[in-house]
């Protein structure tokens, strides 16, 4: 195959894949800006009314705020718990690595429908009687994102020579805690950022746990979407496009932030 031919082939394949992936989004978007789209190939007319309605609907805005609040809280909790745990395992208790790698995939193994039953039982009494409140959602969501947070942090930890770096810091007068804060943590920045963005993207789309564990008592974005699906398809489409756009912007910001800013001018080594 000649060079231009093979390029044509590659471009065609890529375009088809992108087309397939984009089709539902484009369709949803079109639906969200159409007045009526029934028996015709193209919509009858275009309008931004669905978006106006959406953004002036207090119930929606609150559900969005609730979703964001729960997502960030769960993610914060997860990082606060996982970061020191990973550090201790990788620095001192290396024989636990294997066990950790097994444990972190558990959230994948238990389907939410099953998991929620157990979670309601655990959080109904005992130390944390939070069943039915938004707290249970936070304490559930942080388990959902453990695999992603764990892997992101571990990958960036393994990319640096953290043992020697901590030893060097200790010889220069730091204790283990200071060495972790000054020397290890800044180098985990990229991993932490990617953990945060993946987690938020996943959690903001979570429905099953939210619906079973708290439902309308604490209406999140997905629960709201579910409860208003009967109102109008156009309205639901506008909602989906809105939160999709949010995730898109969020991820874009992620890639901008993760490019570590540097003071020095990059010059080539001599």
């Amino acid at each position: 195959m000649s060079k231009t031919n093979s390029r044509l082939y590659h471009n065609t394949v890529i375009s088809i894949v992108i087309g397939i992936l984009l089709l539902p989004i484009v369709a949803t978007f079109l639906y969200s800006i159409s007045t009526r789209w029934g028996a015709t190939i193209l919509p009858d007319g275009l309008t931004l009314n669905w978006y106006l309605k959406l953004l002036t609907e207090e119930r929606f805005l609150w559900s969005f705020v609730r979703s964001l609040g729960v997502c960030f809280a769960a993610m914060g909790l997860c990082i606060v718990l996982m970061l020191p745990a990973i550090f201790v395992v990788y620095y001192r208790l290396r024989y636990l690595k294997f066990i950790c790698n097994m444990i972190v995939i558990l959230p994948f193994a238990v389907p939410p429908v099953v998991g929620s039953v157990g979670l309601i039982q655990i959080y109904s009494d005992g130390l944390l009687p939070i069943s039915g409140t938004f707290w249970i959602l936070i304490f559930t969501y942080f388990t959902v994102i453990i695999p992603f947070v764990y892997r992101s942090i571990v990958n960036s930890l393994e990319a640096i020579n953290y043992v020697d770096m901590i030893d060097a810091a200790k010889l220069l007068g730091a204790n283990t805690f200071k060495a972790f804060i000054y020397v290890v943590l800044p180098n985990l920045k990229k991993g932490l950022l990617s953990a945060i963005f993946i987690s938020i993207s996943i959690l903001i789309g979570e429905f099953v746990f939210a619906n079973i564990l708290v439902g309308t008592r604490f209406e999140t974005l997905q629960v709201y979407l579910y409860n208003t699906k009967a109102v109008s398809g156009h309205y639901s489409s506008a909602l989906v496009i809105f939160y999709f756009a949010f995730i898109f912007v969020f991820t874009y910001l992620a890639s901008v932030f993760s490019k570590v800013e540097r003071k020095s001018v990059k010059r080539r080594k001599n």
Binding site: D164, M165, A168, L172, G173, N175
Partner: protein
């Protein structure tokens, strides 16, 4: 009492003994090298001195003070790691200043001292670069500067040059030794490279199987190896066992060794025969050149004598003897070195 005293130091990981009853003393300003093959315990010993590994028993004293159980940061020890162990989130300057910041020195004082060491390691103009913007040699100099800036009582170097290419390695060798002499810094250097050890050290401690098997100046260790291990590790010694000695030279007990450059090689014809016993204080062998390697200033001949292959070095100043030539070898008896067994 010497400046650094290590007495009866023992360390094991589980059932594996890493080193046992290590004893040595280092004078202030001395450059000593722990030399040995990988796995001989030299790096673990160095890390024990730094306080990065605990020890099972024994003691480490610096200037009379027992530091065996002190925190690494309080020992006044600077260390350069094989992996550099630099902090990638910081510039060269910030890396070097890290230890001083922990000591809570003023900004001016830090700047003054960092600039001093930047001068010493010749890195002026590179201080604002991040570590991944520096070459291997520059990184190692940042690591050295970071260790020097806190003015350590002892400098530990854990195979600092092994990741660098030969040319930079040689340059840094000279640089390290010069700085060490200028600052009169007591230094312990770990390496598996005997050439590096010989060119840099005041004294070499040869380690084998968790023990220091020989301790002496480079020329002592090179010319008078105590056992077969040191002989084969320090150079290309020819080692003769009892039966070879008895057959060709004289009745002997144990093994003997001779340096390749101590043997005299010359072309002979087929009529010449080896004479057993001493002639003019030298032994004599006849063999055939089986392989030649040109090392530049030196020609290295592999000479086959019966079943044994000997290595003979000769200065590259006359015509090189061709492969397959019959040669006569003269071995001065004074150069034959008696070896103890490796276990002694």
């Amino acid at each position: 009492m010497s400046y650094v005293v290590v007495s009866n130091l023992t360390k094991s990981f589980g059932d594996t003994l890493v080193f046992e009853k290590i004893n040595f003393e280092i004078e202030q300003g001395e450059f000593i090298t722990l030399l040995g093959p990988s796995g001989c315990g030299k790096s673990t010993l160095l890390r024990a001195i730094a306080g990065l590994n605990s020890v099972d028993s024994g003691g480490i004293y610096v200037n009379g003070e027992n530091i065996t159980y002190q925190d690494p940061g309080k020992r006044g020890i600077g260390m350069v790691f094989q992996s550099y162990a630099l902090f990638p989130n910081m510039t060269a300057y910030e890396n070097i200043a890290f230890g001083l910041k922990l000591q809570k020195l003023s900004k001016d004082e830090i700047a003054k001292r960092v600039n001093e060491v930047l001068d010493i390691v010749d890195l002026k103009g590179r201080e604002n670069h991040y570590i991944d913007e520096l070459s291997g040699g520059q990184r190692q100099r940042v690591a050295l500067a970071r260790a020097l800036v806190v003015r350590p009582r002892i400098l530990l170097l854990d195979e600092p040059l092994s990741a660098l290419d030969a040319k930079i390695r040689k340059k840094l060798r000279v640089m390290i030794r010069k700085i060490q002499k200028e600052l009169n810094l007591t230094t312990v250097f770990v390496t598996h490279d005997q050439e590096e050890a010989m060119t840099m050290s005041d004294r070499i401690f040869v380690m084998y199987g968790g023990k220091i098997v020989q301790n002496g100046t480079p020329s002592e260790v090179y010319r008078h190896p105590v056992n077969e291990f040191v002989a084969s590790f320090m150079g290309n010694y020819n080692i003769f066992d009892e039966s070879f000695m008895t057959e060709h030279f004289t009745n002997a007990n144990g093994k003997y060794a001779i340096r390749p450059e101590a043997i005299n090689i010359k072309v002979c014809d087929s009529k010449d025969k080896a004479t057993k016993g001493l002639t003019n204080d030298a032994y004599n062998l006849i063999g055939n050149v089986s392989f030649i390697s040109l090392l530049g200033n030196v020609v290295r001949y592999n000479v086959k004598v019966n079943d044994k292959e000997l290595v003979v070095d000769s200065l590259n100043n006359s015509e090189v003897i061709k492969e397959g030539t019959r040669v006569s070898l003269t071995l001065p008896s004074g150069e034959l070195q008696e070896l103890k067994s490796n276990r002694e």
